[in-house]
């Protein structure tokens, strides 16, 4: 069995913890969570689990909470050798104290603070217990994701600005502080960046996010499956396919629903179209950030043409609302098969010629080469996701490594570079466009006949599901728990940006402030997907 190779480390880890007499046990497999394996451990030993997974070289994937009314459940997800482990612990609602995983897994930092702000879990040895997603919309003694907190909350007539957050200050002669945002100069999402700079050189960047927090997780509670799909499509509008697929996959696994083959292929075509659209747009925007108007116009032209075929083929320029529980909302018009093929044939040579120009044009090369370099060791330590990780040597892609239909029977090209700079991220993204063009051609060629949707049948109360897809930004997760009558009790989407945002702080160090926009665009974290 392939899965044994994937989980050798987990068996060893369990053996190790049991030999220390720790109360850890493996839980009975749940089809909704497969292929992940689940363990449970007491809260007192949660920190030891973090330490042991850290020593084993596990990647920290995500953590989230649940309030059952009687107690709080905290889940943490780890991965090694392409095997996923879900760990769970139960906390008393009155004393929800838990050791932190952040000392062993730096990637856990902000997600634990997200849990702290929304569930009131106190992480006893967290190195940075400042609030994170909470600004001033609720008080320190309120926890919006607790059951007894009403969705409407208790807001003031006017929510004040978020004063009093303690940023790190650099001191010394010539150091100046540059606050940027939340309203930025361009047409982009809001967030705050605090630079400590000497002259033009960035000593330190600190991100302050949470500005777009709009209650997404709370709003999921009580929805039916179709309602959750609508919400998931809006977790991050640029990754609408990734999040709706992950959420629907989680619900379908929980309900034990098998999808028709045609629906799966259509979902994959959409996912690849979304990947290409975003890469085209971002490459154009990177050109614009280094004042190559030519590149911006060419790539934004290609993106516009791409979106128009998405509209004609699937009914929405961003493909929002096209994925529904049980399949996809509508079949592809037969004419849109050749139309997509024709567009691919037209885009391919243009992409090649444009990338030739970009990668040899001195103005572009000078600005991008060596800029915003993320060292491979740092990327690996954080578990960097998507093209950010792949451009820093991390050869990871769920479509190949934890394959789900229809990718499980396809050859997935994975572009990797070790350079780690903005130029590498640009090249990797261009290669991913080429790879996705081939994938769409393959998927169109073998589009199976049959229905595109099966009726939705809600699962029993308490059923859980875990959805995982390789969205255009990288590994995108969705955890779903059902309550009574097919209603959603809990939804947590883990956007890849949650992992990648802190890396932006690190990769701009020693770069110059004017290069920040292009570094930011080359990573392109989602604010909305991070803040929820």
């Amino acid at each position: 069995m392939r899965s044994e190779g994937r989980f050798g480390w987990l068996d060893q880890l369990l053996g190790q913890l049991l030999s220390e007499d720790l109360p850890v046990r493996e839980l009975a497999p749940e089809p909704g969570l497969a292929p992940a394996r689940s363990i449970s451990i007491d809260p007192e030993h949660w920190g030891r689990l973090g330490q042991a997974t850290g020593h084993t070289g596990c990647r920290w994937v995500g953590c989230w909470g649940e309030d059952t009314g009687d107690e709080l459940i905290v889940h943490a997800c780890f991965e090694k050798d392409r095997g996923y482990m879900l760990a769970r612990t139960r906390l008393r609602r009155l004393t929800p104290i838990l050791p932190s995983h952040t000392p062993y897994h730096p990637a856990a930092d902000r997600s634990e603070r997200h849990l702290q702000d929304l569930f009131g879990v106190a992480f006893s040895d967290h190195p940075d217990p400042r609030r994170w997603v909470r600004h001033q919309a609720w008080s320190a003694s309120e926890f919006p994701l607790r059951r007894d907190f009403p969705a409407a909350g208790h807001p003031l007539a006017q929510t004040p600005a978020d004063n009093g957050y303690k940023f790190l200050h650099a001191q010394g002669s010539g150091v100046c502080e540059i606050p940027v945002g939340p309203v930025h100069a361009g047409i982009i999402e809001p967030g705050h960046f605090r630079f400590q700079a000497v002259g033009e050189t960035i000593l330190h960047l600190e991100e302050r996010l949470g500005y777009t927090h709009k209650g997404t997780e709370k709003l999921a509670e009580g929805r039916d499956a179709a309602g959750l799909a609508r919400l998931a499509a809006r977790v991050s509008g640029d990754a609408t396919v990734a999040h709706s697929w992950a959420a629907c996959m989680a619900m379908e696994k929980a309900a034990g629903i098998e999808l028709p083959a045609r629906a799966l292929v259509l979902r994959a075509i959409m996912a690849e179209r979304e990947r290409i659209a975003n890469h085209l747009g971002d490459i154009g925007a990177i050109c614009s950030d280094v004042s190559l108007g030519f590149g911006f116009y060419q790539f934004s032209r290609l993106r516009e043409e791409w979106q128009r075929i998405s509209l004609a083929a699937f009914g929405h320029r961003l493909l929002m609302g096209c994925i529904v529980p049980g399949g996809v909302v509508a079949d592809l018009e037969p004419a849109m098969i050749p139309a997509q093929r024709e567009q691919i044939r037209a885009v391919r040579p243009q992409l090649g010629r444009l990338m030739d120009i970009l990668t040899t044009s001195p103005t572009v090369v000078n600005r991008l080469a060596g800029t915003g370099r993320l060292a491979p060791a740092l990327a690996a330590g954080f578990g960097a996701l998507g093209y950010v990780g792949r451009a820093s040597g991390i050869d990871r892609d769920l479509r190949r490594d934890a394959p789900y239909a229809p990718y499980d029977r396809l050859k997935i090209p994975v572009a990797v570079s070790k350079d780690g700079d903005v130029a590498a991220r640009l090249r990797v993204r261009a290669e991913e466009i080429s790879g996705s063009l081939v994938l769409i051609e393959t998927l169109l060629a073998e589009l199976p006949p049959g229905p595109v949707c099966v009726p939705w049948t809600p699962p029993a109360p308490d059923a859980q599901g875990l959805g995982m897809v390789e969205g255009w930004r990288g590994e995108t997760l969705a955890f779903v728990r059902f309550g009574d009558e097919g209603r959603i009790a809990r939804y947590y989407p883990r956007d890849p940006s949650v992992i990648n945002w802190p890396l932006l702080e690190l990769l701009v160090e020693d770069d110059i402030v004017p290069d920040f926009p292009v570094c930011n665009k080359s990573v392109n974290g989602s604010y909305s997907g991070n803040d929820l």
Partner: protein, 177 residues
């Protein structure tokens, strides 16, 4: 450089009337927009866009207005970096409570007379998010709004039409000295 020029020449001007997509509608809307901008804003309408908590879908379509197909600058409309330079605020929502004060301050920093357009279903009425502990919902719940452009997200053409309607309306004229 030669290759860039070669490519520019080969591609030519793609800014077009979009006939297969919208039946000359874009040209029509664009022409009217240009006329309205000419009349009311002396040929130059400065827009400051504010993301007040959106999912970023609306931003992608607003951004598309600057691509060569729509090329909204040719109609005299341009996006500016500071509210102090703006005639019009294009605000996407829902307004998250964490963005409320930033939205109010940006509004206050925009010189009078000014117009505000709430963009997207979320900006118009809270959309999928509505009003909750973290979301103040529609833009109009936070600052005065002159017009809305519905859609999730509105297409670039719908955005152009909405801007045209908002500046064509007599509101601003009535408030102008």
């Amino acid at each position: 450089m030669l290759r860039i020029l070669g490519k520019v020449q080969r591609i030519g001007i793609v800014t077009e009337d979009l006939a297969p997509w919208s039946d000359r509608v874009l040209t029509e809307v664009g022409t009217q927009l240009k006329a309205a901008v000419g009349m009311r804003f002396r040929g130059s309408l400065a827009i400051r866009q504010i993301d007040a908590g959106s999912c970023n879908g609306c931003e992608l379509e607003i951004h598309a207005l600057t691509n060569p197909f729509y090329g909204i600058e040719r109609f005299g409309v341009h996006f500016v970096a500071s509210p102090r330079h703006a005639d019009l605020l294009l605000v996407t929502g829902p307004v998250s409570r964490h963005m409320e004060e930033a939205v109010r301050r940006t509004y206050a920093a925009t010189p009078d007379p000014k117009l505000v357009i709430a963009v997207g279903d979320c900006g118009a009425n809270g959309g999928e998010f509505g009003v909750n502990y973290a979301s103040a919902g529609a833009v109009a719940n936070v600052i005065p709004v002159d017009a809305v452009i519905a859609g999730c997200p509105p297409s670039p053409l719908a955005l152009m039409r909405g801007i045209l309607e908002a500046i064509g309306a007599n509101r601003l004229a009535a408030r102008s000295p």
